[in-house]
Amino acid sequence: MSNSEVIVVTSGKGGVGKTTTTANVGTGLAKLGKKVCLIDTDIGLRNLDVVMGLENRIVYNLVDVVEGSCRVKQALIRDKRNPGLYLMPSAQTRDKSAVSPGQMVKVIEHLREQFDYVLLDCPAGIEQGFQNAIAGADRALVVTTPEVSAIRDADRIIGLLEANGFKQMDLIINRLRMDMVRKGDMMSAADVVDILAVPLLGIVPDDENVVIATNQGEPLVGNDCPAGKAYANIVRRIRGEEVPFPNLDKSISFWTRVTGIFHKA
């Protein structure tokens, strides 16, 4: 497909929600009728298969494709729940040096012909795994949480993406807790956007349903829960729709300030 889009989901820091974001955004795009391929580029520590609930169906993986042990098609696992959604799993028993950026580009060029979207789940860190993941991508989703360490790493990643010629980088703020923001104990989405200075694509509230969904291996995009709705909005924004942010900087309103006095005292 000529106008297919290749998106890398990255963060620098581990554990901020790259894999969950990849799973939900990919599933959301497939639910809109798009042909989507998810690639787990975290060689040696694969997880996207588990979050997607497809771990029992792996036969071949990315490294097999790169080494020519199988055809691209053989390594793609079809998600039976969502027509048009496929996963290329990573290898669990190899390390990052098994794949080079050039080889990744080749695999992606092949997938572009068959898919509307190719989503790459990037490993944590800034070493070869990161270089592999970004090599063939057109745009990046940078995932962070409202914590000093995650934001610092996101800033480093944004710098590296810029140095690699990326023009489109969008920010996803994960695990935001509005109750803590209101109390002045967590940076707001506006604070994070102000510091990182890249366009905001979505805010995902901290939601226990994400843990439940991961337990079950079933992405929750589109479900009637805060995170499910947030991911659905992110998907719409990726499609180019204008979706307003409900309460981007509902920072400390007069009323919370007044009631806050009584809570604190």
Partner: protein, 86 residues
Amino acid sequence: MRHFFRRKSSRETARDRLKILLISDRVNCSPEMIELIKTDIAKVISKYMKIDAANMEIQINAKGKGARGIKNPTLYANIPILDLHK
């Protein structure tokens, strides 16, 4: 009663720490190095005029607002002059 005797909230502390951290991260030099640059600049300028070295400020910024996309950061020095002719 924090709202009356406002101590810095942890949100503000985080924001302030990050801003300082990212300045040195982005230009890839430590706060100590910025301090060294500052003393050296003061030394050189002092050869020609009398300056208030204690109150000089030095900062490395990415130029302008919306810093992204501009590759070269800029060094700003704000040096109060006490006497132009030494």
